[in-house]
C-alpha cells in the first residue's frame, strides 16, 4: 500500500478564489492510501516545496499528488522536488485544478466538486505508480539549421562560435533570405546588403559551418540528441568545386525570360543564374525547366563558354544523411497571395505593387536600377498611395487574423525614402492604426510625418479603380475628417500581410513540431520558452514562430543558438522512462506491436522462459528503451495486454476512469 501525500495549491487566488482548497484537502484525506494532505499559498515556491519535502520525510510518503496548475507547467518542478527529498520523481502526479478547473468555472461549489474528483483520479493513479528510472541517450554534437535567411545565419554563427558544428540547409541557390531582397532597413535606414553580406561571408567562411544551398530536408527520424536527417541536395548542374563565379554563363545564356524570384517577378533572369550578385555560394544553378538544353537537347552555350569546365548537365540530386543533436527551424516568411483582394486592383494594374516589390524597385540592383518609376509605363510617379493592413487583422477567410507587425515601420521607411529622394512626389498613407512599439520606432514614424511631410490619413481604402488615363482612382475613408476621399494616384503600394513560408508545413510534420492555425510554429511556452518547440531538440528562430522585424529576429536567433549550445554541451541526456514494457508471460510474440511502432523500437527474440514452472522457448517482444518514445500505440494493439506503458499503465488509466466515474 502506498503512503500518499496530497498538496493543494492556492496559486494565490488563481485557484483559491474558485475552488475551496480546504474542502479538497478534507476530501483527499478520505481517499485510500492518503496519509497526509495540506494546502498552501504557492506550492511551487521554495517554501511550498519545503513543505512537500518535510511531509515526505515526516510521513514516509511513497507517492505524492499535487493539485495545482497544469503538469505541463510544473510537473518537472515537483518531480525534482520529490527527488531532492528522496522520493522517486515518477511517484508524483499532478491534478490540474487550475487550467482545467478554477480558470474555466465560476461556481465555487461546482469547481470544488470537480477539483475533488480530479484529485481523486490523481490519487487513484499514484496508488498504482511504480518508481521509474530514467535512462540515458547520447548527444550528437552537431546542429542543423533549416533556412538560410538572417535568422538561420545568425543562429548558425552563434552556435559555430561556441565551437559546435552547424549545417545550414537553404532551399534557394543562395543564403541571404528575405533580408537580401530589402533595400534599406528601419529605423536607421542603413542599407540591408551592407549589414547582411558580411554575415553571409562569415557564415560561408566559418570552419564549423557547412552550407547546403539549393537543398531541402527530406526526412527526419530520431529524437532529441540523436536526429538522423536526409538532405536532398538538388542537382545544380554546375560543379561547385570548379566554378569560379565569373558570371559569363549567365551573360551568354540565351534563355532570359524567366521571372526572377529574387526580384519578385518584376524582372527576368537567365536559365543559368545566381539569384543576386552577392549570392553565397557564388555558384549558379541551371533552372532545368527554363533551360533550352534540358528542354530540347540543343544549346549548351554555357558549357561552351565556361572556361573552368564546371557545367555538368548530368549532375543528379544527391541525398546526404547526417546526424544532429538539435534542429533549428528558421524558414522565414513570404507575403500572402493577393488574388482575393482585387478591390485593390493588384492583378489588374502593374502600378499596384506590394511593399516587398517596392523594395526591389527602390534597390539599385532591382528591375528599375533603383529609379522610382511606374512598372506600366516607366513614368515617374507624382502621387503615391500606401495602403496598410492588406490581409492583416482580417477576420474573414481572405486574410490573416494577426497583425503582421512590420508593415507600419517599413511603410514609414518607404514614405520617408521616397520623399527624401523625390521631394516633388506626394505620399499618402492610409492606415487603421500606426503601431510603432520599439526602440526609436515612434520617433521614426513621426519624422516621416513631421520632417518629410508624409500625409497620413486614418481610414482604410475601399477600392482602387484603374482609370483610362492610366492613373489609379483611390476611394477611401478619412475617418477623422468624416469624409470619403477619391484621389488619383500614380502608384499604389500594398502593405501585404506576411505568412510563414509554405515549406514550414512539411518541415513541421517531419519534425512532429506543432504549428498553429496560421502555420506559425508553436513555442513550448509563449512567455517562458519562446524559442523552443514543444518537441524536444527542435528550436525556433525568426518569423517561422511569429511576425517579427530584423532586430527581434536576430535576438531570437541568438536565443535559439544558446538553447542549442546548452543542449550540445551535454554528453548524455536523460531519457523518458515512460516507455513500453512487455510482460513476457503474457506476450504471444504475434508481431502486431512492432507494426504500429513509429520508432522501430520493438523487436522479437526467442527466449527461454519459466511460466509458472513450464519452461519453454518463446518468441517475445523486446522494447529498446532508447528508441521508445512512449506513445502507447503498441499497448492497444496487443490483445493480451502484455504490452503496457510505464507511467500510463492500463491499470493506472482505468483507475483514473473509475475515480472520475465513481
Amino acid at each position: 500500500m502506498q503512503r500518499i501525500g496530497v498538496f493543494v495549491c492556492h496559486c494565490g487566488s488563481n485557484i483559491a478564489a474558485t475552488v475551496d482548497v480546504k474542502k479538497v484537502v478534507e476530501m483527499a484525506r478520505m481517499e485510500p492510501g492518503v496519509v497526509f494532505a495540506d494546502d498552501y499559498q504557492y506550492m511551487c515556491s521554495e517554501a511550498g516545496q519545503a513543505k512537500i519535502g518535510a511531509a515526505i520525510k515526516e510521513h514516509n510518503l511513497t507517492g505524492i499528488v499535487v493539485c495545482s496548475c497544469s503538469p505541463r507547467m510544473h510537473e518537472t518542478t515537483f518531480r525534482s522536488c520529490a527527488k531532492r527529498y528522496g522520493l522517486n520523481p515518477y511517484m508524483v502526479e499532478i491534478a490540474n485544478i487550475r487550467e482545467h478547473c478554477s480558470w474555466i468555472h465560476k461556481d465555487m461549489q461546482e469547481a470544488t466538486e470537480k477539483a475533488v474528483i480530479l484529485a481523486r483520479a490523481a490519487i487513484a493513479k499514484v496508488n498504482l505508480n511504480a518508481p521509474l528510472q530514467a535512462g540515458e541517450s547520447r548527444v550528437t554534437k552537431r546542429a542543423l539549421v533549416i533556412g538560410g535567411g538572417i535568422a538561420g545565419i545568425q543562429t548558425a554563427l552563434d552556435i559555430a562560435d561556441a565551437g559546435y558544428e552547424v549545417d545550414i540547409v537553404e532551399k534557394t541557390p543562395s543564403i541571404g533570405g528575405r533580408m537580401s531582397q530589402l533595400d534599406k532597413t528601419f529605423p536607421t535606414l542603413d542599407c540591408s546588403a551592407c549589414i547582411l553580406t558580411p554575415k553571409m561571408v562569415d557564415a560561408a567562411g566559418h570552419e564549423k559551418i557547412k552550407i547546403y544551398t539549393y537543398s531541402e530536408v527530406e526526412k527526419v527520424s530520431g529524437f532529441v540528441g540523436d536526429f538522423t536527417v536526409d538532405i536532398r541536395k538538388k542537382a545544380r548542374s554546375v560543379d561547385a568545386t570548379k566554378c569560379t563565379g565569373c558570371g559569363v554563363c549567365q551573360e551568354k545564356c540565351p534563355s532570359k525570360k524567366t521571372p526572377s524570384e529574387f526580384n519578385r517577378g518584376l524582372g527576368n533572369r537567365s536559365a543559368i543564374y545566381t539569384p543576386f550578385a552577392q549570392a553565397i555560394p557564388n555558384v549558379p544553378v541551371i533552372d532545368r525547366e527554363a533551360c533550352i538544353k534540358f528542354k530540347t537537347g540543343k544549346c549548351g552555350v554555357c558549357e561552351k563558354v565556361c572556361q573552368a569546365g564546371a557545367i555538368d548537365y548530368a549532375q543528379q540530386d544527391e541525398i546526404i544523411t547526417e546526424k544532429y543533436g538539435a534542429i533549428v527551424v528558421a524558414t522565414g516568411f513570404d507575403t500572402i497571395k493577393l488574388d482575393k483582394y482585387d478591390e485593390y486592383a493588384y492583378n489588374q494594374s502593374k502600378d499596384v505593387i506590394t511593399s516587398l516589390e517596392l523594395e526591389r524597385v527602390m534597390n539599385a540592383a532591382g528591375p528599375t536600377k533603383g529609379h522610382l518609376e511606374r512598372l506600366s509605363d516607366g513614368k515617374a510617379p507624382k502621387e503615391i498611395v500606401f495602403i496598410q493592413c492588406v490581409g492583416s487583422r482580417c477576420a474573414d477567410a481572405r486574410g490573416k487574423g494577426y497583425c503582421s507587425k512590420i508593415c507600419c515601420m517599413y511603410t514609414a521607411k518607404h514614405a520617408m525614402l521616397i520623399r527624401d529622394k523625390y521631394p516633388d512626389v506626394n505620399v499618402t498613407v492610409f492606415y487603421i492604426d500606426v503601431r510603432t512599439p520599439g526602440k526609436n520606432f515612434d520617433e521614426f514614424y513621426r519624422r516621416a510625418v513631421e520632417e518629410y511631410g508624409v500625409n497620413y490619413i486614418k481610414g482604410q481604402v475601399g477600392k482602387v479603380a484603374p482609370q483610362p488615363d492610366g492613373s489609379l482612382l483611390v476611394q477611401a475613408a478619412d475617418l477623422l475628417d468624416n469624409r470619403q476621399i477619391k484621389m488619383k494616384a500614380d502608384m499604389v503600394v500594398l502593405a501585404t500581410a506576411i505568412e510563414p513560408d509554405p515549406s514550414v508545413r512539411g518541415i513541421a510534420t517531419m519534425l512532429t513540431a506543432s504549428i498553429d492555425t496560421n502555420n506559425f510554429l508553436t513555442e513550448a511556452h509563449p512567455k517562458l520558452r519562446p524559442v523552443e518547440s514543444p518537441t524536444a531538440g527542435v528550436f525556433l528562430s525568426g518569423v517561422c514562430q511569429g511576425p517579427k522585424d530584423i532586430p527581434e529576429t536576430v535576438a531570437q536567433a541568438g536565443a535559439a543558438a544558446v538553447k542549442v549550445i546548452g543542449l550540445l554541451a551535454k554528453d548524455k541526456l536523460t531519457t523518458n522512462p515512460c516507455t513500453a514494457k512487455p510482460d513476457e508471460l503474457l506476450c504471444n510474440g504475434c508481431g502486431n506491436c512492432a507494426k504500429v511502432c513509429p520508432y522501430g523500437a520493438i523487436t522479437y527474440e526467442v527466449r527461454q522462459i519459466n511460466d509458472h514452472g513450464i519452461r519453454e522457448e518463446r518468441r517475445l517482444a523486446t522494447v529498446n528503451n532508447a528508441l521508445c518514445q512512449g506513445c502507447g500505440a503498441c499497448t492497444v494493439t496487443c490483445p493480451s495486454g502484455a504490452m503496457d506503458l510505464q507511467g500510463f499503465s492500463n491499470r493506472q488509466l482505468i483507475a483514473e476512469v473509475d475515480a472520475i466515474c465513481r
Binding site: 474528483i117 513509429p598 502507447g632
Partner: protein, 145 residues
C-alpha cells in the same frame, strides 16, 4: 424535459499530452468556459487509449466519452492518431451497431493552439450528452429487465 436540465452528465475526456491537453490548458488560460461535467485524463497520445478504457468508463457510469488528439499529420509521435482514427471508427461503429446512441462517443482533433476549439467542442459535446440523457444502455447490456 425538465429532467434533462437537472441532469449533470459524467463525461470523460482523454486528451493527448502534446496537442489536446495543451489546447485544454490554453482554453483554461484564456478563461474559455465549458461545463464542469468534463473531466480530463492525460494520455501521451490518443493512440494510448484502449477501447477498453472507453467501455470501462461507460460501464462505470460515464454518459459520454470524448477522445482528443493532434490533427492527423501533426501527431507528436508521427502516426499515433492515424491508428486512433481507425480504432475509434471501428469501436464507435460497433457501439452504434449494438444500439448505443452514437452521440455518446466522439473524436476531435484539437491542436495546442486551439483553445477556442477545445472549449466549443466541450460545450457542444456536453450539450449533446445532456440531450441524450443518462447512459443506461452500456450499463445494462446483459441485464434484461
Amino acid at each position: 424535459m425538465s429532467v434533462n436540465e437537472e441532469f449533470r452528465p459524467k463525461i470523460v475526456a482523454f486528451c493527448c499530452n502534446w496537442c489536446s491537453y495543451a489546447g485544454a490548458d490554453l482554453a483554461g488560460s484564456s478563461r474559455l468556459a465549458y461545463p464542469a461535467d468534463v473531466k480530463i485524463i492525460r494520455v501521451p497520445c490518443s493512440c494510448r487509449v484502449n477501447p477498453m478504457f472507453i467501455l470501462r468508463a461507460f460501464e462505470k457510469g460515464a454518459d459520454g466519452v470524448i477522445l482528443c488528439g493532434c490533427h492527423p499529420g501533426d501527431c507528436h509521435y508521427s502516426t499515433g492518431n492515424y491508428y486512433t482514427r481507425r480504432r475509434m471508427t471501428m469501436l464507435f461503429s460497433m457501439l452504434d451497431f449494438i444500439g448505443v446512441e452514437n452521440g455518446r462517443t466522439r473524436v476531435e482533433w484539437v491542436s495546442a493552439a486551439e483553445g477556442v476549439k477545445f472549449s466549443t467542442t466541450m460545450n457542444d459535446f456536453v450539450a449533446k450528452i445532456r440531450s441524450l440523457g443518462k447512459n443506461v444502455r452500456l450499463g445494462d447490456l446483459r441485464c434484461k429487465d
